[in-house]
Symmetry: C2
Subunit: 339 residues, 2 copies
DNA sequence: ATGAAAGCGCTAACAA
DNA sequence: TTGTTAGCGCTTTCAT
């Protein structure tokens, strides 16, 4: 690898002068600069980042540790958002996937520290609480899509309650009164929070929510769940007094509701309105009609995680805001107005 | 940050002794080791990777540059595969997303070089040719899901021709004779190669492929394409002599064929068998019935890219194998045997 | 078995 | 405007 010294020798100037030029120091004679630039080009000099760091220059690398987020279709947008925010300053992401293995995570914290990364984003696949612990790491840590159990770390989570509210509010505003609900498994935060939002929307609209229409679209423990949306939807739609709309805990659940509706010769949205959650494009844009849903703001979470990480550098120890990122409604063709 | 010197001072030994212990050098007195270990733990010493690299120790970081692959649901598995292969040796991935911007890529090559990464995988979202050029980078570069135009770089691509063959062969073996084809846009390699494979399967089976049943399921230029699979399928299935099976260029195309079939009250697989490509789980596992498809071996490509990168270190300049990774058939419920 | 000293490539402080 | 020198934290060489 070409070093400053070699360039200096070839250019007949001192190391420091070359260093100045490489770093854009204006205090260099224009002629000197030009002649050195040529050699820099020819030798294709690229500064050694490791050597720079030894002089106390901060790393330009940030860490992203995840349980699986970087590698699932559902939430890669967190990575995209973070990278977009980083790119502007020519900084990059070192990505580590623990697959949820705690021991592996300890190992990764060490690695991040060895690399002297500038900060770390810990992102999870789904909205949950996470205990980072004291990972032998003093730099800024920001949680994305999860929050610290002891609320001792800044974090960024989707506003699931607001999202649930948006789902129900949209249908209520369009005249629906009998609305079914097909949730995810109850133990996860998203299910609970959205449920609160949905019920609040009903209350605000002065409509009573029929709890008998609240069914699970998915069962099982977290991970290893299985989808029962199809059967649940079938049952719900075969009632004599069937709902005019169904709110789903996930676009994939909605996917199955479409199938159940098709099976019963019910057309969407004429006979049945369907509302999804997540805005998983592969599903929402390919369904017929395309699915009206509430988007999980993953990209935004990633983008703001970087900002938060930068801010946190200038903050004192206890600083740990928990930021709710809004989940916007995305109107497509699966919900109709009831006259 | 704690340095060797501090640990040494506290332990009352020399820097070198601590260094030996940190690096597992056996030539250290057991008692000394134990006492120093305690201080290492207490101070939570983590070696400075930058300083190590200055002494010529190789980086433990590899680079992954992509046009978009790390951030699309379709091909993140390349990243997962690469990480799985790397994890065993405690190495990690620095990920850079260029979004296809050539200028951005030049910048990233510089960055990889500045970080002195050990090797770089260049991965693309879809199977295509890519000219890496001479990116001011002498270390190993491996192409994943794309191949060098001048074939001057080792590369790993899916065996699309074999995949096409598998699609057709499966249906032919199950008695189908009248088979429709809904392709992606013609200009991409995948379409061409799979077409060859499909026709070869027909020839091997002694069946004539009816070219009038070959339609595009997607139109437009690469990127910004739009899906016309629904209309194409509708038209194909409304013919008096409609096909008994349809081969799709992508699972999303198959998605629309299901919708078209439902619209025509054709049931899958009784009235129509459907064959996908890619094995995009979100689609294949949620469709009713679940979709029989041919999988794109992204995980395997990522895994082997790392191996190839390691091998390439010991190879001479011209070494540039182009490896075809098989696309296995995944049988589910959308294809039936014709009696 | 342990240590002293040199030096990796760079930048900051200071000098010329 | 330019150059000299020191030293970041580590590993390597060569003593002891």
């Amino acid at each position: 690898m070409v070093t400053l010294r070699e360039v200096a020798k070839l250019s007949g100037v001192s190391i420091k002068t070359v260093s100045r030029i490489v770093n854009g120091d204006p205090a260099v004679n224009a002629k000197t600069r030009d002649s050195v630039q040529v050699h820099l080009q020819n030798l294709n000099y690229v500064p050694n980042q490791a050597a720079r760091m030894m002089r106390g220059v901060q790393s330009s690398v940030y860490g992203l540790m995840t349980d699986a987020v970087a590698t699932t279709p559902y939430s890669v947008d967190i990575v995209r958002g973070a990278q977009a925010a980083l790119k502007e300053q020519n900084q990059t992401l070192l990505i580590a996937n623990s697959n949820g293995d705690a021991e592996q995570e300890v190992e990764f914290w060490r690695m991040f520290r060895a690399q002297r990364v500038r900060g770390v984003i810990y992102a999870s696949v789904f909205h949950r609480s996470h205990n980072v612990g004291r990972p032998a790491f003093n730099d800024s840590i920001v949680l994305a899509n999860c929050y610290a159990s002891g609320s001792d770390r800044p974090s960024l989570v989707p506003d699931d309650e607001g999202g649930g509210y948006a789902q129900a509010e949209h249908l209520l505003r369009n005249g629906h009164r009998r609305i079914g609900l097909l949730t995810l498994i109850p133990k996860i935060d998203a299910t609970r929070l959205r449920g609160i939002g949905i019920r609040r929307a009903f209350k605000d609209a002065g409509v009573t929510f029929d709890e008998s229409l609240n069914q699970q679209g998915m069962i099982g423990p977290v991970h290893g769940e299985s989808m029962v949306a199809y059967e649940a939807a079938l049952k719900m739609l075969q009632q004599k007094n069937r709902p005019t709309a169904i709110i789903c805990g996930h676009d994939a659940v909605a996917f199955h509701v479409y199938a159940a509706a098709a099976h019963l010769r019910l057309s969407v949205p004429q006979d049945l309105s369907i509302m999804g959650f997540d805005d998983l494009k592969v599903i929402t844009e390919n369904l017929h009609p395309r699915l009206t849903t509430v988007a999980l703001p993953y990209f935004e979470i990633g983008r703001r995680a970087v900002e938060l990480m930068r801010e946190s550098t200038h903050q004192k120890e206890g600083w740990a805001p928990k930021i709710l990122v809004p989940c916007p409604l995305v109107e497509r063709g699966s919900c109709r107005t009831l006259s």
